[in-house]
């Protein structure tokens, strides 16, 4: 009877561990982690470039105000989701430096696109040249990092 009870306890413990492990964020294998990083960086490049194009078009008075705002708002929301999902991952230990760099760049991208959205909403035209320069510089860094990941 004692043996059966112990077996049940073990089975329950194993079940709890299995269920709990299913509820946590996985640590992907290094290759899968690199692929996820590259995907997140590629998405960031796309949304940073979108914000830059919209801002340039606004500065040249080539785009309708609501259109510019909605386009950057959508980029901001999508990028926020992408960065959030990436940061939830647990990087393999050997890739810690890459994770640090990726999370810094992705965080910068998300912040800058948010700033762009706010500047467009407030129509802070004085901020546009500085933001365009920052977006351009961040694009270059992201593209360089994307090449490192390839």
């Amino acid at each position: 009877m004692i043996g059966l009870s112990r077996w049940r306890s073990w089975a329950a413990a194993v079940l709890i561990v299995l269920v709990a492990s299913g509820c946590t964020t996985a640590t992907p294998a290094p290759d899968a982690y690199r692929a996820r990083t590259k995907l997140a960086v590629t998405d960031a490049i796309s949304h940073v470039a979108t914000a830059q194009k919209v801002l340039e078009a606004t500065r040249k008075n080539k785009i309708l105000g609501p259109y510019a705002l909605v386009t950057v708002r959508a980029s901001d929301e999508t990028l926020g989701t992408v960065v959030g999902a990436y940061l939830e991952l647990y990087p393999p230990q050997q890739l810690d430096p890459r994770f640090t760099k990726a999370s810094t760049l992705l965080g910068d991208a998300s912040d800058l696109v948010t700033q762009t959205r706010i500047a467009l909403y407030r129509d802070d035209r004085a901020d546009f040249p500085g933001l365009i320069k920052d977006l351009d510089s961040l694009s270059t860094k992201l593209e360089r990092f994307e090449k490192e990941l390839s």
Binding site: A49, L64, P66, Y67, L69, V70, T78, S139
Partner: protein, 409 residues
């Protein structure tokens, strides 16, 4: 003169009505990631839709009955039901995407969140389907859809290297950063967007609504063989704009706002306003077509009175189907699902459902009991058979590619 006007109007509305949310999004996505290297798929898709639209239009003109009406009678209730379920699912998904597309276009014009627009746009679509005359609805949105010609003007204004674009279009190649599986996935999605099943149902049922007869076949053919390819050129110009502007900047299209960005860069505010009008007309027109197609399919299968050529009271069940579909579409969109994501699903599932839609049309168009002297000739049968093989391949490949590439990631 009156006939010439009717032909010209038919061609213009066919061009303007060709592009819907699936074409807008998929062509821009493909252009921004693969340049013009998938242009051949648009050409293959447009030829395919011409082949089957001509057949279904001819069936409607000769028999005076629409496709679903005959499919059940000719192939039996079981195959008819399979056809109904497959096409209904895809058409409902497309209807949801189109209503979402209208809301997105209005959000871009006003900066009010798209989800707030959803109930109003759905109500407007339903009111048009309930009250407006068929010809008025078709002509107004078809003609307004011509605003999308602004993409062709923008492409010309952007001054691309035409030789390079031609080279891309003539080569089956992909950028180094993309996989062949992703290339194939977008090829299938583009094909599904060009050959959407609802187009033939709407076309043939529309023929019955407009009382086509054998004498209408020449006009119908001019609409199909001139209007649809020119509509296909609009699709290519959307892809071209994305290839010239977005691809070099590393922008891959996720939102409708990104689709119109090249027009703003090339033509400024006026161009963008015209593009927005085009987005609105294309999605509203397609929402009406898909909404009607849902009513047509079910009513024709069950043998109910259908159509807008009779009073709503006389086709009450047909209108109830449209009303329920509209409420369903609103319910789906108010979950705050991204309409662009719904569009991506709808074009892939269109590809899955293609054989079930097009095989019965080929069978009915070959039946001399219905078609008499207008039964398919050798060329129509050859092209129809070739396309059945192509749609079968696309249908089988669509879901595995979607899963394998994680929807083109």
């Amino acid at each position: 003169m009156k006939k010439l006007f009717a032909v010209a109007l038919g061609i213009l509305t066919a061009i303007g009505g060709f592009v819907d949310i699936g074409d807008l999004v998929t062509n821009a996505q493909v252009g921004s990631r693969f340049g013009m290297s998938l242009a051949w798929v648009v050409v293959v898709g447009v030829l395919g839709i011409c082949v089957f639209a001509e057949m279904s239009g001819r069936v409607a003109a000769v028999s005076g009955r629409a496709t679903f009406d005959l499919i059940r009678e000719r192939l039996g209730p079981r195959l008819g039901l399979a056809n109904l379920l497959a096409s209904m699912t895809v058409t409902l998904l497309t209807f949801v995407a189109e209503i979402g597309g209208i809301a997105l276009a209005l959000a871009l014009a006003t900066s009010v969140y798209e989800f707030l627009w959803v109930p109003f746009t759905a109500l407007a679509v339903w009111l048009v389907l309930w009250r407006a005359k068929f010809s008025l609805m078709e002509n107004v949105f078809g003609l307004l859809g011509l605003a999308l010609v602004v993409f062709a003007v923008a492409l010309w204004q952007l001054g691309p290297d035409w030789g390079d674009l031609w080279h891309q279009a003539g080569t089956v190649a992909k950028p180094g950063s993309e996989d062949w599986s992703t290339y194939a996935y977008y090829g299938v999605a583009l094909f599904g967007a060009a050959m959407t099943p609802y187009e033939v149902f709407f076309f043939s049922s529309g023929g019955v609504e407009e009382h086509w007869s054998s004498r209408s076949i020449a006009t119908m053919r001019s609409n199909v063989f001139i209007g649809f390819p020119l509509g296909g050129l609009l699709s290519l110009s959307i892809a071209g704009c994305a290839a010239v502007t977005l691809l070099p900047a590393g922008i891959s299209v996720d939102t409708l706002g990104q689709v119109g960005l090249p027009v703003a860069l090339a033509l400024g505010k006026i161009g963008l306003a015209i593009a927005l009008l085009g987005f609105f007309a294309a999605t509203f027109g397609a929402a009406c077509e898909t909404g009607l197609s849902l009513g047509y399919s079910i009513a024709q299968y069950f043998g109910w009175q259908w159509g807008k050529y009779v009073r709503p009271r006389e086709a009450s069940r047909f209108h109830v189907v449209i009303l329920i579909s509209t409420v369903l579409a609103v319910a789906v969109l108010l979950t705050t699902i991204d309409p662009v994501l719904v569009t991506e699903f709808s074009v892939v599932f269109s590809a899955v459902a293609l054989p079930l839609t097009y095989f019965p049309i080929l069978v009915v168009a070959n039946d001399p009991d219905y078609m008499g002297e207008h039964t398919n000739g050798r060329l129509a049968n050859f092209l129809g058979s070739v396309y059945l093989v192509v749609v079968l391949v696309a249908s089988i490949a669509a879901l595995p590619l979607m899963i394998w590439t994680k929807m083109g990631q």
